[in-house]
């Protein structure tokens, strides 16, 4: 293993960020362990649970499947960038209103994934929401209230 660390310059939630990382470190490792952006969670480290969902140049990815060095020169958005100052994103508001979380560990990833859906489809069907979120595991809710919250947020965003 090389002892030298690699220099990476990236943009996270709109801010220019530079860091040093080992070549094998994932974007999730760096977000959490180096930058302490712990809103992205590690549930599996194999791309199966979606708890580390972030967007990479606008595209939904699992941060555990992206190497940190790959983010050089790219734009990453995490859950920490979703609220606008004191104003929660409508999805965040609707998740609270619908009690769409129990333990809350999957919530950041699901919110990031849902926002990525509404960015490309402001009026998704229930089926589209369910298939889009099929990569985000939730063990607490049975998904019912999550799907309702996403549909309600979409409706509200269309109305405004």
């Amino acid at each position: 293993m090389s002892k030298s660390k690699l220099h990476v310059a990236t943009t996270i939630n709109g801010d220019s960020v530079e860091f040093l990382c080992e070549p094998q470190q994932t974007l999730l490792d760096v977000l959490r362990d180096e930058l302490h952006l712990t809103g992205s969670k590690e549930g599996c480290a194999s791309g199966d649970c979606g708890a580390c969902s972030v967007t990479f140049d606008g595209r939904l990815v699992c941060a555990c499947l992206v190497l940190a060095v790959e983010s050089n020169g790219h734009k990453v958005e995490t859950i920490e960038g979703m609220a606008d100052g004191e104003n929660l994103h409508p999805l965040q508001e609707k998740f609270l209103e619908h009690s769409a979380l129990q333990c809350g560990i999957c919530t950041p990833g699901i919110l990031v994934a849902a926002k990525a859906l509404l960015d490309i489809d402001p009026d998704p069907t229930e089926t589209r929401v369910r298939y889009w979120l099929a990569g985000n595991l939730c063990r607490c809710t049975g998904y019912d209230k999550i799907v309702r919250a996403v549909l309600d947020a979409a409706a509200e965003m269309r109305a405004n």
Partner: protein
């Protein structure tokens, strides 16, 4: 697709109880702020990793840690010599009991490694990559023994022995030879022989279920910090930080009060976080290294080394008269305990037939050790397995007799006064009400198409009370901090604050909850047994009434009238009547502001051992469609009905019902531990251990029935566990209606369903030739 609540009690005029408010910790959890087990970082922190046995059954002949210790960046290496050996001592863990002799051996193998993934040593190093390298430098010499994975095989006389000194308990006279059967138990009432003799129809079936994992999305994680003087701090994801404290102190040989444990936010538990795995090891590493040590399991480690629930082999026999009265019920249950004794088979014996008012019952259970990870509690531990089998037989009995399975259940339903096989008679319970709600639900009469079927099943769970403390600290402005000791796993902060606000008569946003650490609050049992809103709720109500009484005393002193002449109404102290005097009512804010002049700080306390938990019954209706070309079973429609006693926060009660139903769907259709001939787990990841995903399920409709629990001030029953019980039997019944094939094993995964369809088709073809 609407959700409804049916209350059998008079409607209560509450402001907060019975309403679904935004949870106080909600914003933290939708913004990524909330700190879970792996989210804490300490200065000078090391990374801890565990070395695990590659063998399912092996004696540890020798271990050489010197090369790992010598690696640059390694600060500590520990093994069994750093954890106390403990004698046999049973202690409660949720609804189950655990033995310290076994906990210490499960946390770190001593004489033998008893399952693939069993911890044998651990290291702490300055980075994860160095820690992993150090693990590879530990030399362990194993003497590999034959292993046994299946419960039936493990009971055979020539089976490989896990524990050479394990003599079956509960058998008279005690066997002379050791075996893998840890315990036999029996519950009975009436005369089963006479009951079966009186039956017109008897159904007897054998059932097999596979171990399933709780599947919490957050892996086990902790951060331990032991100082040079032995004082220690532990941050961990746990359902009970007081339990974790007790276990860790015992395993490390330290005074309990020298260890302060803080519960992180918890990313799911379902019973699986009621025991310790990493925590004592992290403390041992930190003690040796003199630095903080953080440990986080990988998902693979969660599957291989933390506890699923039991797989089982069962035989159920039930008889009924032709008009539908059940005359006898007999169950024989064999549950896998994993590597150490202590499966939930006793709870299975107690629950199996609990939904029915029966004269003649016998349940016999065997607790059997196998070379698998030690089972842990999983949502109504033991009940879903036994009740699945019993409910399948009830369904088959009804169909044989020609009665609607729902009517058969109504005819035999347990109700107030029903004698249970395990001892007590039921108080007011709501099974009949859930069955009636099912019968009235439009779902029960909706038309079905080709290859579609409908099933129903009921479920019972005891629920528990237990030790809980609560403190209400009134601030100078009349707002309050509510300190409780049950980690919030699904919204309990909201339900507890709503009860506090209701009692105090103030707005909900004036009550701010925290989960106190083990040094800031009295001993509180864990979040489990569906007890948080019930038992901690009782403590919160008592703490609120305590501070209200103190405020009444202060006001009585100020007004110079007897305290009995001051009443508390809607957030104000008022004169009890005009006879008491004409005083302007005083608000909490006013009373708090003058506290320093009337006697000092205003604090409400409660330290209780809550008794009188009310059992919760549920009934589920499910529609399925079977794809006869692939064997896939699709859930078309689902309705969960349950007695909540009183739903303090209806939306979170619905959430428990929906989440439990979907976990049960996973148990019924996909989830199982798959082992190879080599005794190693083959599907230790979420790709191959497939829990339900969003596109697998429809909306889960709910009906909350409210039959109040008379021992709780608001009528609360626990609700969290019951909903995982009915799905497996309901789905079995629905599949039978859809394709005419009745399964007696779980999971009913596509390959098994397809094989059964093909076997059935070829049998039909053979018959036609």
């Amino acid at each position: 697709m609407a959700t409804s609540t049916k209350s059998v009690s008079e409607s209560n005029d509450y402001k907060w109880v019975g309403t679904s408010q935004v949870r106080p910790d909600g914003v933290d959890k939708v913004t990524g702020r909330a700190s879970f087990g792996a989210d804490l970082y300490a200065p000078n922190m090391l990374v801890g990793k565990i070395l695990r046995s590659p063998h399912p059954h092996a004696r540890i002949v020798s271990m050489d840690i010197s090369k790992a210790e010598a690696l640059s960046g390694v600060k500590a290496v520990v093994n069994k010599d750093d954890i106390c050996d403990l004698p046999s001592e049973m202690v409660p863990a949720g609804e189950m009991m655990v033995n310290y002799r076994d906990i210490t051996r499960n946390v770190m193998a001593r004489e033998k490694a008893l399952y693939e993934g069993h911890a044998v040593a651990a290291v702490a190093a300055i980075s994860e990559s160095i820690a992993r390298k150090a693990l590879s430098l530990i030399d362990v010499e194993y003497e590999v023994f034959p292993h046994v994975i299946d419960v039936v095989d493990a009971m055979k006389p020539d089976a490989p022995l896990l524990h050479e000194d394990l003599i079956t308990a509960g058998v008279e006279p005690a066997p002379e030879k050791p075996s893998n059967i840890a315990k036999r138990m029996e519950f009975s009432q009436g005369d089963c022989q006479a009951g079966f003799a009186a039956a017109d129809v008897i159904v007897e079936r054998e059932f097999t279920t596979k171990p399933v994992h709780q599947g919490y999305i957050e892996p086990h994680a902790c951060l331990a910090n032991v100082a040079e003087d032995g004082k220690a701090e532990l941050w961990c994801t746990t359902q009970g930080h007081f339990i974790a404290r007790g276990h860790c102190a015992k395993l490390l040989g330290m005074d309990i009060s020298k260890l302060r444990v803080t519960a992180s936010e918890i990313g799911g538990g379902f019973g699986g976080k009621t025991v310790v795995y990493l925590e004592p090891v992290a403390l041992a590493l930190s003690r040796k290294a003199g630095q903080p040590v953080k440990m986080v399991m990988t998902r693979e480690e969660v599957f291989r080394a933390s506890g699923p629930t039991s797989g089982a082999h069962m035989r159920i026999k039930m008889g009924a008269t032709k008009d539908g009265r059940i005359t006898a019920a007999d169950a024989l249950l064999h549950y896998q305990a994993g590597a150490f004794p202590g499966s939930p088979v006793q709870l299975g014996c107690m629950c199996a037939f609990a939904p029915y008012d029966l004269e003649n019952v016998r349940t016999v259970g065997y607790d059997v050790v196998v070379n698998r990870p030690k089972v842990a509690a999983y949502r109504a531990p033991g009940a879903p397995i036994a009740e699945y089998a019993a409910e399948c037989v009830v369904d088959e009995l009804a169909k044989k007799i020609g009665i609607d399975p729902l009517e058969m259940r109504l005819q035999n339903a347990a109700k107030e006064g029903t004698q249970t096989v395990y001892g007590p008679k039921f108080g007011p319970v709501g099974l009949v009400e859930t069955l009636e709600a099912a019968r009235e639900h439009p779902h029960y009469r909706a038309p079905l198409g080709k290859n579609q079927g409908r099933g129903i099943a009921s479920g019972f769970w005891f629920n528990i009370g237990g030790e809980s403390c609560a403190t209400l600290n009134l601030s100078e402005d009349g707002t309050a901090h509510l300190v409780v000791g049950t980690p919030d796993i699904g919204g309990s902060r909201a339900s507890l604050c709503q009860m506090a606000a209701e009692e105090l008569g103030i707005d909900l946003d004036k009550v701010h909850p925290i989960i106190g650490d083990t040094a800031s609050l009295g001993y509180t049992f864990l979040t489990g047994g569906s007890r948080a809103t019930f038992a901690t709720g009782m403590a919160v109500v008592e703490a609120a009434r305590d501070v209200i009484d103190k405020m009444r005393e202060r006001v009585a002193k100020t007004w110079d009238i007897p305290v009995d002449a001051v009443v508390w109404e809607q957030g104000f102290a008022r004169p009890a009547s005009s006879n008491a005097g004409a005083f302007e009512p005083m608000s909490i804010a006013e009373i708090a502001a003058m506290a320093n002049k009337t006697g000092g700080p205003l604090v409400g306390n409660a330290a209780i051992n809550a008794q009188g938990a009310g059992p919760s019954f549920g009934t589920h209706i499910v529609d399925v469609e079977v794809d006869t070309e692939t064997g896939q079973v699709k859930i078309l429609r689902y309705t969960a009905i349950q007695d909540a006693g009183k739903a303090v926060h209806p939306s979170f009660v619905e959430g428990q019902m929906q989440g439990g139903a979907v976990q049960g769907i996973g148990w019924a259709l996909n989830e199982e531990y798959v082992y190879g001939e080599d005794g190693k787990l083959q599907n230790a990841g979420f790709l191959d251990y497939r829990i339900p995903v969003c596109s697998d399920v429809p909306m889960i409709d709910t009906v909350i029935v409210e039959v109040p629990n008379p021992t709780h001030p608001y009528g609360v029953r626990g609700v969290g566990e019951t909903p995982i019980i009915p799905p497996m039997a309901a789905i079995t019944s629905a599949i039978e209606q859809a394709i005419g094939i009745r399964f007696n094993e779980l999971p009913m995964s596509p390959p098994k369903v397809l094989a059964a369809i093909e076997a059935s088709n070829s049998a039909v073809a053979d018959a036609a030739e």
